[in-house]
Symmetry: D2
C-alpha cells in the first residue's frame, strides 16, 4: 500500500465565517491569528453561491495568500485551516480544507482533532470500492457524508459525525451553508462569534479579537451548528458523554490572550505557576521563564513566592525553519539559536526556571546548561504541568511513550538527567485547583482529558499506545 496508516491532523486551527462581504479576507486574518496552531500548510475555501473556490499552499498564512488569491476567493462565506504536520513531510495533498464533489454537489471540510477510528472507516469504505487520495484521517468524514442517503445536508453531516470516534472541532462549507461541530467529549476548543450581521467560528478567541468580532459562546461538546440563509440552528443529536476538553490547551497550546473552555488562558497559566510555587517552594534569588510558553506560569510562581521575576532568557525572533550547523559542533547548539541567557540577570544567583512541560528532556538539559554557563549558583527547574507519561490521541503531537522521558524515568532520574539542582512538577490535583481558581465562575467545563498525565483515555478504543492493527484483505 501507498499509505501505511492514516495520519492525524494533530494541532490545527479552524476558522469560518458566514454572511460577510469579505469572508475570505476575514478568514485569512482569522488564520493569521491562529497561526500558532499550525505552520505547515494553510487553505481557504469560499462560496459566492455558485460553487466553491479554493486556495491552499505550504507555509505560513502570510506567504500562502496573495491579494490576488484573496480577491479570487469571492463570496460571503468561507472556511479556513492551518495545519501542523507531525511527520516532516508537509505534502500539499494533505492540506485542508479538503474539497470534493459527490452526488449532492461540493463540500469542503476543515478539521482539528484526530479521528481514532479512521483506519476502520477507511477499511470499510475501501471494502465497498472507495478510493482515498490523501493520507489524512479527515478524508473518512467526506466518504461518510457522500455515502449517506439522508436527504438534508444536516442529516448527512450528523450521520457522518455520529460514526466518528475521537476528537473533532470541524467546519463544513457548501455553496449555501456553513456547519460547525464539536465532538461530544469536546476535546478541542471551538468558539462562536458575531461580526456585525455575520457569524464566525474559530478555534480560539484571539481570532475574534483581530477582526473585532464579538465572542458569543463556545460551540458546545456534541453540538452541530448549521448556518444558512435562514439563520443559525443548533442541534445536539448525540447521546451525552462526559465532557473532556484537552487540559493541554491550557498548559501549552492555546495563545495566552485566548479564552477557551470559558477561561482565559493567561490567567490559568498564572495559577499553574502559583500552585507550582506552593507545591515546590525553594530558596532562590530570581524566577525566570523559558520564553514564551513559560512566561505566565513563571509570573504566577514569582508573585506567589515573593521572588523577583526577570526575563533571564531572551528569545531570538528570527529563527528560521532550518539552520546550518557547524561541523565542529558547538555545544547545545539548537537551543542557543533560539534562546540566550542574560548573564547579568543570572550570574551568582539561585535561579528558578519555569517551563510548561518536559517531553524528551534534551531541551531542558540544554537550558539548564545554558543557565549554569551564564553563572547561576543553583538552577531549580519548575514545570507547570504534571509529568507527561502518555501520548495523546486527540490532537496534540506528543511522541510515543518510549520517547517520553517521564514515562520511563522517575522525577529524581529526570532531575539527574537534565542536571538541575531540583526539579518540581505540578501535581494533577494542583493542576485542577489552578484551573478552578483561574477559570472561576466563567469556567464551562468541570472535567478535562488529562490522559497525557494519567493515561485515562476518555475514548476507550485507544488506551493502547499503538493504533489497532488492521488486517486488510489484499
Amino acid at each position: 500500500m501507498l499509505f501505511r496508516e492514516d495520519k492525524f491532523n494533530d494541532e490545527c486551527g479552524v476558522f469560518g465565517v458566514y454572511g460577510h462581504e469579505e469572508a475570505a479576507n476575514l478568514t485569512y486574518l482569522g488564520l493569521y491569528a491562529l497561526q500558532h496552531r499550525g505552520q505547515e500548510n494553510a487553505g481557504i475555501v469560499s462560496s459566492a453561491g455558485d460553487g466553491l473556490k479554493v486556495h491552499k499552499g505550504n507555509g505560513l498564512v502570510a506567504d500562502v495568500f496573495t491579494e490576488t488569491d484573496i480577491d479570487r476567493l469571492a463570496g460571503t462565506s468561507a472556511i479556513g485551516h492551518v495545519r501542523y504536520s507531525t511527520s516532516g513531510g508537509s505534502e500539499l495533498r494533505n492540506a485542508q480544507p479538503f474539497v470534493v464533489d459527490y452526488s449532492r454537489g461540493s463540500i469542503a471540510v476543515a478539521h482539528n482533532g484526530n479521528i481514532v477510528n479512521s483506519l476502520l472507516l477507511r477499511a470499510e469504505f475501501e471494502a465497498y470500492g472507495s478510493i482515498f487520495q490523501s493520507t489524512m484521517d479527515t478524508e473518512a468524514v467526506v466518504h461518510l457524508i457522500a455515502s449517506c442517503k439522508e436527504r438534508t445536508l444536516t442529516d448527512r453531516i450528523i450521520y457522518a459525525l455520529g460514526r466518528l470516534r475521537g476528537s473533532y472541532s470541524i467546519a463544513f462549507l457548501t455553496e449555501d451553508t456553513l456547519v460547525a461541530a464539536r465532538d461530544p467529549h469536546g476535546f478541542r476548543p471551538l468558539a462562536l462569534g458575531k461580526l456585525k450581521g455575520a457569524w464566525v467560528v474559530a478555534s480560539e478567541t484571539c481570532a475574534f479579537d483581530l477582526i473585532d468580532a464579538e465572542y458569543v459562546r463556545d460551540v458546545a461538546p456534541g453540538e452541530v451548528i448549521v448556518i444558512d440563509e435562514t439563520g443559525l440552528s443548533s442541534y445536539k443529536p448525540f447521546a451525552p458523554v462526559e465532557h473532556t476538553p484537552c487540559i493541554f490547551e491550557f498548559i501549552y497550546f492555546a495563545r495566552p490572550d485566548s479564552a477557551i473552555f470559558g477561561a482565559n488562558v493567561y490567567d490559568i497559566r498564572k495559577e499553574f505557576g502559583r500552585e507550582l510555587s506552593k507545591e515546590h517552594e525553594v530558596e532562590a534569588d530570581v524566577v525566570i521563564p523559558v520564553p514564551d510558553s513559560g512566561v505566565a506560569a513563571a509570573l504566577g510562581y514569582a508573585q506567589a513566592a515573593g521572588l523577583p521575576f526577570e526575563l533571564g532568557i531572551i528569545r531570538n525572533h528570527y529563527v528560521g525553519r532550518t539552520f546550518i550547523e557547524p561541523k565542529d559542533s558547538i555545544r547545545h547548539f539548537g537551543v542557543k539559536l533560539k534562546l540566550n541567557a542574560v548573564r547579568k540577570v543570572i550570574e551568582g544567583k539561585r535561579v528558578v526556571v519555569v517551563d510548561d512541560s518536559i517531553v524528551r528532556g534534551i531541551t531542558s538539559m540544554k537550558i539548564v546548561k545554558m543557565i549554569r554557563d551564564a553563572g547561576a549558583a543553583e538552577v531549580h527547574m519548575r514545570i507547570s504541568s504534571p509529568p507527561t507519561v502518555c501520548p495523546c490521541y486527540y490532537g496534540i503531537d506528543t511522541p510515543n511513550r518510549d520517547k517520553l522521558i517521564a514515562a520511563n524515568q522517575s522525577v529524581a532520574d529526570i532531575n539527574n538527567y537534565i542536571t538541575s539542582d531540583t526539579l518540581g512538577y505540578l501535581s494533577v490535583e494542583g493542576l485542577y485547583r489552578a484551573i478552578d481558581r483561574g477559570g472561576g465562575k466563567d469556567l464551562v467545563e468541570p472535567s478535562y482529558c488529562d490522559a497525557c498525565f494519567t493515561g485515562e483515555y476518555p475514548v476507550d478504543i485507544f488506551k493502547e499506545s499503538k493504533p489497532p492493527q488492521l488486517v486488510l484483505f489484499k
Copy 2:
C-alpha cells in the same frame, strides 16, 4: 457543484517501464521525448515493491524533475505522463499519474484519450456515495477498479476498461505489476518495446529511440498487456470493433521521427504533400512550409511538383508561453513573434506555402500577410489535410464547430478570408491514398477515425457536438 463537467485529457503522452534498475530515469527521458504531446504538467510514479512513490509538477519535464526527485523515485518499474491542458488552467490536482489507495492497495494510472461516458460514470458513482477530487475523466477509471469485486488486478482492470466508452491508451502501475492497454478502436497510439531485459511502453516510438530501446510492436486495439514477475501476458477481452486510429496523429500531432500505427510519420506526411501537389497543382516558383509541422508535406509537395523547396519562414526557437504586447498594436503580432519570413527567398516569387491544417483561419491569414509583406508575387496556400469540419471527442483539442472556419465556410470563402491567391485542401480520398503509399506493407491499420473531416464518429454516443446533459439529483 464545484466541477461543472469532467475535463478531457486530450493530447497527452504516456510512458511505462518494468524491470529496469533505472525505471524512473528512463521514464523521465521517455517523457522528455514525448514532451510535444503535453507541456502543462508532468508526473512519474515508481515502485520498488514497497509502495508507490510519486512526483508531479507543473511545467516541462526538464523543470518538473530534479536529480533528487528522480533519486527518490526508486524502483524497477515506473509510469509517467505529460499533459496538455485544454483549459488555460493547469491545476496540479489534474496532473497524472493519479495515485490512489483502495481496498487492495495502491494503484497509479496514466491516460491519453477521452472517456466520453465519464460524466455518466461519475454520476453513477456519486449516486453510490463516492467522492471525486479531480476534474479529469480519468478519475472514473480508478473508481471502477476500486468498486470491482474481481479477485485479480487483471480482472478488475478489464472490468473497468470494459465500462469505458471513448479513447484510451493507458498505463497502470501497482507495487508489482505494470498494465498497458488500448481501447478497442485503437484511437490513440501505444507502442511496446524492449530495453535489455526490461519492457517499455510509450505513446510514440521516438521515446524508444532516445533510450535505445527496441520497438517490438504496437499494443493492439482492445489489448490489455500485463507485465509482472512472471513476464508479459496479453489479453484481448473485448468484442472486436472496427479499428479507427486517429488520422490526425499522422497529420499533426505525432513527432515526424516516430512510427505510429505501423508507419513512419515523416513518410506519411511527405505523401500527403505529394498527393496535395497532384490535387492542387499551381504554377509557382518556390514551395515553403509553415514550420515545423508543414515541413515534410512541403518537401513532398515540392518533390512531386518539381519546384524548389526553401525554408522561407524561420521559426524563433525561444518563444515563451507569454509575451508583452505593445499597446500601439503591431500588425500580425502573435505570429511574427514565432515566425518570420525570409525576404530574399520570397521577394517577387509565386509562393506555395504548405501547412498541416486550418482551424480558425486567423493564423493562416497572418501568415499569408507576412509572405505578401515580404514581397511575394502570389501566395498559394496548400493544406495537407481535408477541411476540419467537426470537433474531436477522442483526444485532440479542436475547438467547437462554431469556431472551426471550415465547418461554416466554403473553401472559396476561406481563401477569401485568409487572402491567399488560391487555397487547396487535400481530399479525404487523397489522404487515404497517401497513407497507403506512405505506410505501405508496414501499415497495420486499414481504417481510421476521420471524424474531424467527415463527422463520422466511431463511438456513436457522441455524434452531437455537445456532451450529454446530465440531470444530477441535487
Copy 3:
C-alpha cells in the same frame, strides 16, 4: 542622475572571524544572532587565501544561505553583514559586504553607521572620473582606499577612514587580512572576541554567545584592529575626540542579552524603568509592557513602584512582512495583527503601559485604544526614554523632524493625541542616572550621543536636518 543622493546603511549588523576552519559557518551564525539589526539583505565574504568568495541575497539569513552556499564560502576568514533598508526598496546591489577589485587586489567591506560626508566624497571622486555603482554611502570608503598611494593595507585603510565623517563600525577583508575599526566618536558598538585560536568581531556580544566565543573587549572608539598571520595589531591613528556612543542602542536597538559599551542592555533598560517610575509615579493596579522592547523597562518600573507586572499584551510571532487588509477597514488594524491585549489582565484595572519610545504617535494611540477596548479603567503611558525631538544621522532610522510628534507637540498634546490618561517620558537626566546605575563599574563610556533627544550632534556638519545641497557640475 540615476542616484539622487547616497542612502545610509542605518541599522546594520557586522560580523567577522579570522583563523577558523569554519569561518563562513560561524559568520552565518553570527549574522543569525544579529538578525534584529537588519532583515533586508544578508551577505558573507570569505577568503581561503586565494581570492574572495561572496554570497549575498535579499531576506533573512536563514533564507539567504543554503548549506551549499556556506560550503562554497571556503576559507579561514570571513566577514558578514545584515542590512536594514530605510527605503522600501531592498535592492540587492546595495547589499553588503561590497567586494571590489583595485590595483592592489580585492577588498570587501561591511559597514554599520552613516558616512555623513559621503556625498562630498562622491562628488570629489566623480570629479576625477570615478564611477559609482551602488547608492550606498559605504561605496565612498573603497574609492578612498583604492585611490590611496600608501604602500600597506593598514595605511590605506587608515587614510580612508581618516577622510570619513560620521559613524562607522566597519570590517574589511582581503585575501589575508581582517581589519575592524570604529569611528573616533564610537557611535555604533563593535566587540572583539576569541573562539579558541580565532579572533571574532561583532556588533553585539549576543553573536559571541551563540558560537561560544569569549568576549574580550570592545573595539575602542577610533581604534583600527588589523588581524593577519602575524596576529592582532591595534592602531589609534586619529586625534582623540569625545566619545559619544549611541544612547538609543541601550533604549531600543540592541538585544537585551547583549553587552554594549561595557554594560548589559537588559540591566540598563530595567534601570530606565526604575527611574521612570520615580519620575512619573501614578496610582495603578498593574504594569504591562509593549512587547518586546518595553519588557525590561516595565519590569524595572513595576519593581520600583511595587506594582504587579503582567504580560497584558501578547505578541503574535508569525507576523509576516505584509498582510492583506480588508476593504471594510477594521479599527487599529496594523497594530492588532501584531499585538493583542489580554482582557482578563486589564479589565477594570488602572494600567501603566511601558514602551521604549514614541515616534509618530499613531502606534501609541492604537495601543492605548486596544487597552481601553480590553476594559482598562485608566491607561497611563510611560516611555523609557526622553521625547524624540531630532532625527539621527549616525545610524538609527528615525523619520524627519516634521514627522516626529515630540518635535512638534508638547507632552500634554501628545498625551491628548494618543488618548492616554497620563503620559510620562523619562528625563535626559534620568536616562544618565539609569545608565550609571545599570552599567556601574563596567561602563566604559562616560558620555553618549543623545542628539535624538537634545539636538546636540557630536559631528557638527550635520546639525541641520537636511544633508548639504551639492551643486554637481553637470
Copy 4:
C-alpha cells in the same frame, strides 16, 4: 585578486530605440528576436528624461520581464542586451546594460564584442585608484568615459572608444541621448532602422521585422551615431582601417532571416552549400542537414548536386538547460536528447549530412553514429565552412586551440575520428566565392575577419592564443 582576468561578452545581442512612446516594450520585443545571440541574462534600461530605470535578470527575455517590469521602464528611449555567458556562471552582476553614476550624470552601456585591451585599461585605471565591480571587459568603457575631461557626451564617448582595441557594436543611453557605435573593423553587425518617427538600432535585422521597423542601413565600421532631440548625427572620428566583419556570423551565428553586412544570411548559407557540393561531390541518395544551423547549406548542396533533400534528423524543441542522465550510460546520450534520426529517410541510403562547423568533433561523431544506427549505407559529412583552426578574440565563443580538433588533426584524421565515410570542408576560397554570389550587389563589405580559419587576426596585439600576462603591482 578576486577577478583573475576580464571575461568577454562574446556572443550578445544589442538593441536600442529613441523617440517612441513604448521604447521599453519595443526593446523587449527586439531582444526577443535577438534571443539566439544570448540566453544567460537580459536587461533593459530606459529614460523618460528624469534618470535611468533599469531591469535585469537571469534567463530568457520572456522570463526576465513581466508586464509590470515593462510598465516601470517608462520613457521614450531605451537600450537592451541579451548575453551569452562563456563561463558556466551566469552571474547577474555581469548582466548588461551596465548603469553607473559619474560626475556628469548617469550612463548605461550595452556591448557586443570583446575589448582585447581591457586588462591593460583596467590595470591603468586601478593604478589611479579606480575600483571595478564586475568581471566584464565592458566595464573599462565607462571608466574611460568617466575619466575623460571632454565637455560633451559625444566627445567623451569618442575618446573612450578611441582607447579600445577589439570588437564592439555598442549602445549607450543617457537621460536624453542614445549613442550607437561600431568598431573601425566592424567585427560585429549593427543595423540602423526607423519605426515611424523613432530611430532603432539592433544587432540583426530580424529584430526590425518583429516590430515592423524599416531597415535603413548598417551602422558603418568606425561610425558613432548620436541621437537626441536634435535628430541623428553621424561621426567617423577614427582613422580608417580595413573592414573585417566576422565571417562566422554568416556561417552560424546570425539568424537566417536576418540581413547582416548587406546580405541575407539564408542566401549566403545556401551558397556555402552549393559551393561545398562542387568542392566535395559524392555519389549519394539523400542530403540531410543537422538542424537547424545546417538547413540552408544542406538545401544549397542538394539543389546544386541534384540530390533529394530530406529532414532526416528531427530536433526536439523542448530541450531544457539540463537533463538527468541515467547512471547506466546510454550511448551518445546528449545528442540524442536534442536530435533523432528518421529511420525511414535514412535506412539503406547513402547519406550526405551537412553541418555548419566542427569544433571538438564529439558531436559530429555522435551524429554520424546516430545516422548509421538508423541504417544508413554510407555517411558523408559535409561542413559548410573551412576547418576551425584558431580561437576567436572578437566575440565568438570558440574553445582554445588545444580543444579545436582541426587545429590539431588533419581532415583525414578527423574523418577517421568522427567515423564518417568521407568528410569535406568548404575551402576558404569557396567561402568567399559563395559570399560574393550570395550577397551580390548588396554586399557592403569586400573583406572579412576569417581568423578562425586562417589565424590572420586583424587586431595584431592578439595573434597569440593567450591574453598578455599582466604583472600587477600588488
